[in-house]
């Protein structure tokens, strides 16, 4: 079922003609997108433009009504096994962190590997310790999420997603709920992750991060992809009027 997404010409995410409605509200309109492996795609746009909804469709947290989404060769359909297989390859980081407050940081990270992948406890704990080291907070393993700062919590969330060894990481406005002084530490982790070759789809308002780290930037507006291009193209030479308007509002 899963094909090797290692060759850079084979897209690891393929979306064609994706349409979604919330009741009567047409939230995604004919979205076509291809993401290559190891590519960092940053999605920007005004609120309500459907960017969060779009990436949530990719791991089936939302269901698209029309169109095709293929992740790593597996088509996203109503088949539960397909969905489970796709979810096992995608890790997601949320705006509100969504850590489990009744578990320690270590337990948060090892819960899924131990019970979904059936990793033995010792192995899961070791991998979790390595991940905590990678995101920069090895000493917080035994604490509860409520005892950590927002930036630390989000880094734990990133480690928790990485513990399932995904091929793709989705970020839904990861720094929007953080105090400004903590945004940098999270962005640094995401930058290191990008440099290590992870395929990433990031919905964010952090333009500095987009300019520095993204391979491609996508502008969503009212459910459609308005413009797509490299950071140089996007920031220095935007084509679309909507893009120019949006950039003038935020930069």
């Amino acid at each position: 079922m899963g094909e090797n997404g290692g060759r850079s010409d084979e897209p690891i995410i393929f979306c064609e003609g994706v349409n979604k409605w919330f009741g009567n509200f047409h939230v995604l309109k004919d979205v076509d997108l291809e993401v290559a492996p190891r590519e960092v795609l940053v999605i920007i746009g005004p609120s309500g433009s459907g960017k969060s909804t779009f990436i949530r469709c990719i791991n089936r947290l939302e269901e698209h009504q029309e169109g095709t989404i293929i992740v790593d060769g597996i088509e996203l359909s109503h088949d539960v096994r397909n969905i489970a297989a796709i979810r096992s390859e995608i890790g997601m980081v949320f705006q509100q962190f969504n850590l489990f407050p009744h578990l320690t940081v270590l337990e948060n990270i090892t819960l899924a590997p131990r019970f979904v992948r059936r990793q033995p406890r010792r192995e899961a704990d070791e991998i979790a310790a390595q991940l905590l080291d990678r995101v920069g907070i090895p000493e917080q393993a035994r604490k509860y999420p409520a005892q950590l700062s927002g930036g630390q919590q989000q880094r734990v969330a990133i480690a928790r997603a990485l513990a399932m060894q995904p091929k793709i990481m989705l970020f839904d406005e990861p720094t929007s709920a953080l105090d400004p002084e903590m945004i940098k530490e999270v962005l640094d982790v995401m930058k290191e992750l990008a440099e290590s070759g992870m395929t990433m789809l990031v919905v964010t308002h952090e333009m500095g991060f987009a300019r520095e780290v993204a391979d491609r930037i996508v502008l969503f507006d009212e459910g459609r992809i308005v413009e797509m291009g490299t950071p140089q193209h996007f920031f220095d030479n935007p084509q679309h009027e909507r893009t120019k308007l949006f950039l003038s509002q935020i930069l």
């Binding site: 791991n59 947290l61 489970a84 979810r87 096992s88 995608i90 890790g91 997601m92 949320f94 509100q96 969504n98 850590l99 489990f100 407050p101 009744h102 578990l103 320690t104 819960l111 899924a112 019970f115 979904v116 509860y144 999420p145 409520a146 005892q147 969330a157 928790r160 997603a161 399932m164």
Partner: protein
């Protein structure tokens, strides 16, 4: 001779004589009648039982005499129970102290509790044709023992059932959801006493095999269903407070609904409603007194029989009921204390916010 000439407290036993035939004769009059007819009973050398011995006074006594005549025999009677109680208390305390450090103590205590329950039931029930452990049918089990038994079985059985009903009510499958809803609302809609009466009288009509089922077991089933319905609503309240984001994160991590419920939803939901759940258990403990209306004699029922039925104890109604009120209070307060300590020992979300 009138009864109340012998009886200074003047409690007024009815004593009627019509055409030389005594209609309602008090115990004293009967004794006198027996003495008239058969002569004095022979002196028997045996220690007088509490029940035979009338500790009521005739005339004033000093405080010292009060202690020696009325109070100290009581201590003599309860001394063995007191020793056993103290030994159990020390045992429990030791388990608590050692258990905090040693995991083996905790495991052994848990295993003993689980094994003790059927063992106790077997020892209580006894075996036929046995001298050491004679058969004691459940219809004569009574008093505080029966109260405790009904409460413990009720709590242990209704908790998983209540959680299952709560989860079922939130299910996406309509069949499961509506079955659970109808069950919960029906049981909550009737008083407990009607459920117990139904268990005793009506269920055997529909299901002839069940009339053979022990009355005690039927009462346990009724109490369990009742408590489970109320528990289900309490737990459902707790289930509703789990933020959806956590469920989404669980889905994104690949946790299936069973794992999500077990590791994320239930630990938080149940900890949040500990006060309500323990409150329901305390309520159940006191609701067991209703089985007295159905024919089982637990604590209140037994006391009722004693003070209303046995004339010798009729003057002591106030003392008896105050005593069982104190017993109920002590046990209910102990349960509240457990609730408080459970909440304080909670991990994560409850403790560190």
């Amino acid at each position: 001779m009138r009864d109340d000439e012998l009886n200074d407290t003047n409690q007024g036993y009815a004593w009627l004589k019509m055409d030389g035939v005594e209609l309602f004769s008090g115990q004293e009059a009967q004794t006198l009648a027996r003495i008239e007819e058969y002569g004095m009973p022979p002196e028997v050398e045996h220690e007088l039982d509490m029940a035979e011995n009338d500790y009521r006074f005739v005339g004033p006594r000093s405080f010292g005499e009060f202690i020696s005549v009325q109070v100290s025999p009581l201590f003599g009677r309860v001394a063995p129970s007191f020793v056993v109680g103290t030994a159990l208390f020390v045992n429990g305390w030791l388990i608590g102290v050692l258990g905090k450090r040693e995991k083996s103590v905790r495991r052994a205590a848990l295993a003993s509790w689980i094994l003790a329950f059927p063992a106790i039931l077997i020892i209580l029930h006894g075996f036929e044709n046995s001298r050491l452990m004679p058969l004691v049918p459940t219809s004569v089990w009574g008093g505080l023992l029966l109260t405790m038994l009904l409460t413990i079985v009720g709590i242990t059985a209704s908790f998983p059932l209540g959680v299952a009903l709560a989860l079922g009510r939130r299910s996406d499958l309509p069949a499961v959801k509506w079955t659970c809803t109808i069950l919960i609302e029906t049981i909550r809609g009737v008083p407990l006493i009607t459920i117990l009466f139904m268990a005793k009288l009506i269920v055997p009509f529909f299901w002839s095999q069940l009339s053979d089922l022990d009355l005690t077991i039927r009462m346990m089933i009724g109490l369990t269903l009742f408590s489970a319905a109320y528990l289900a609503e309490n737990v459902r309240g707790g289930l509703q407070i789990i933020p959806h984001g956590q469920l989404e994160a669980a889905r994104a991590l690949g946790l299936n609904p069973l794992l999500t419920t077990t590791f994320i939803v239930l630990p938080q939901a149940l900890r949040a409603v500990i006060p309500a759940i323990v409150g329901q258990f305390i309520s159940l403990f006191k609701d067991t007194s209703l089985v007295a209306l159905v024919g089982l004699f637990e604590l209140v029922g037994i006391v009722d029989i004693i003070v209303s039925g046995q004339p010798i104890y009729r003057p002591y109604q106030r003392e008896a009921y105050i005593f069982i009120a104190i017993v109920y209070f002590i046990i209910s307060y102990a349960m509240s204390d457990v609730s408080r300590r459970l909440e304080e020992s909670g991990a994560g979300s409850l403790r560190h916010q």
